[in-house]
Subunit: 308 residues, 2 copies
Amino acid sequence: MPCTPAARGVIAALAATALLACAHRPPLTVGPTSAEVLAASAAADWRPLDPENTLYLELTSGRVVLELAPAFAPNHVANIKTLVREGYFDGLAILRVQDNYVVQWGDPAEDARRQRPIRSAKASLPPEFERPLAGLPFTPLPDGDVYAPEVGHAGGFPAARDPASGQAWLAHCYGALGVSRGDTVDSGSGAGLYVVIGHAPRHLDRNITLAGRVVQGIDLLSALPRGHGPLGFYEKPSQHVRIKAMRVAADVPAPRRTELELLRTDTPTFAAWVASRRNRREAWFAQPTGHVALCNVPLPVRAGALRR
Amino acid sequence: MPCTPAARGVIAALAATALLACAHRPPLTVGPTSAEVLAASAAADWRPLDPENTLYLELTSGRVVLELAPAFAPNHVANIKTLVREGYFDGLAILRVQDNYVVQWGDPAEDARRQRPIRSAKASLPPEFERPLAGLPFTPLPDGDVYAPEVGHAGGFPAARDPASGQAWLAHCYGALGVSRGDTVDSGSGAGLYVVIGHAPRHLDRNITLAGRVVQGIDLLSALPRGHGPLGFYEKPSQHVRIKAMRVAADVPAPRRTELELLRTDTPTFAAWVASRRNRREAWFAQPTGHVALCNVPLPVRAGALRR
């Protein structure tokens, strides 16, 4: 796919030189580098994390910051927050680290009688695999996708949509936060959660509910020792990685919050950012590729204004 | 891209039910699972590693087994083997672990006067970013690609090709082995090597020479602590991960070799394997996707006949 019809449409709307991006070896090296795009960004190009939709996964090694996606999975997001506020995860563990796939955490007790009770949260929920695309702001990417008719970004999340079905869904890119489930699609609750730590397993899209993504600290998960049991589960309880606590950021006193800002995905600056990734202008690159896949667009994060 | 023209062509050649794979939600759940495909494979579906084109990266934590790709980078492969046989890497170190990107190893000495001398190997080589596609057996995948006109497998390696230019090249999938270089394209030699440990950085394709891939033990690299210096380099020498040795498997006494077999990528069994990944038939999957991206096709490895 040197240049998809969708790409031609988008690119035709840009400056004439951009048409070269459709050639076999796109020489579109004129323009700012990724670093220059960020350096030239304005305050309004960034948005703070919403503390009410931010989770902290507190490990002995540090804090993983996760942004929830209520626009895609409102019921799962609400249930996860209820579980977190009930202290459900405190003292539970990371149970599974499957190389090039996922890290998963929850209750290590296999015997149902010994499992931590779920109090006011729901024990299972109908799936939220997709939602109507109507009403969802969406910034499309121009280069096509192997799995979906359209891909792009919605409210800072990598996502896909299908005009034919009228549906949109979150994509399983690196760092995606998902809700574990059993063989039935309505068997997940949020009491088991996972994060993608490998090449995007896009075949999971619309097969399991995604509820957010990691915005800081993923290396506290991705560098964990791999499990060597089936599916990458740790074989011994001694290998489990203890969760000190999970918290909704809004419940944490302000001085102990991790204040972060994310580059908005609905701005000209983000369009320039994507352009700088489609054709890398750094001196090292011999051949700009002229394309970028959904899960290869980094989503910039910086310290919040009070911490810079 | 719900169904590319290439996909339609391939699928039209299959049974009539397979045509459904082009529908929005492909219900192609009939057929063997991935596990069933492997269970039904014949001895001839597998090939042993060639000891002369297999490297062992020996770490304190264990052995990483790498298969070299002389069909794509003959000069770099030859030079890497010369370096290995000179003992160049023995006692050197892993210097860089950048999350969701690469692990890189080589000489930690920054002062050129203290660096290990390269003896009979070449200190730099012309790039081998691509090769003529003529004469290269290639098993295409049907679902398109964001970065290349055609993708598939060549001799067991994920690869791409462009009929318009007549060129083929290796793809930067998870586990790819590459040759570090500086800003000039002919500055690499193999004295610095890297392995992809994150989402496929396909923008590196044809920008840097790939020379092989990891076939076993990648978690010894992917689970290493991340470096927090620029580009993921370790900031302190004490963080460096020591390389006990690198060896060409042919130079290791047979009893100490890691005998492995790889599923051939030019067989009907591999086609069935790909089909089982395009539409997952395991009970857990609610929606088979009907597509698979190049870097999402696992390449099966099993113990060699003498070890099974």
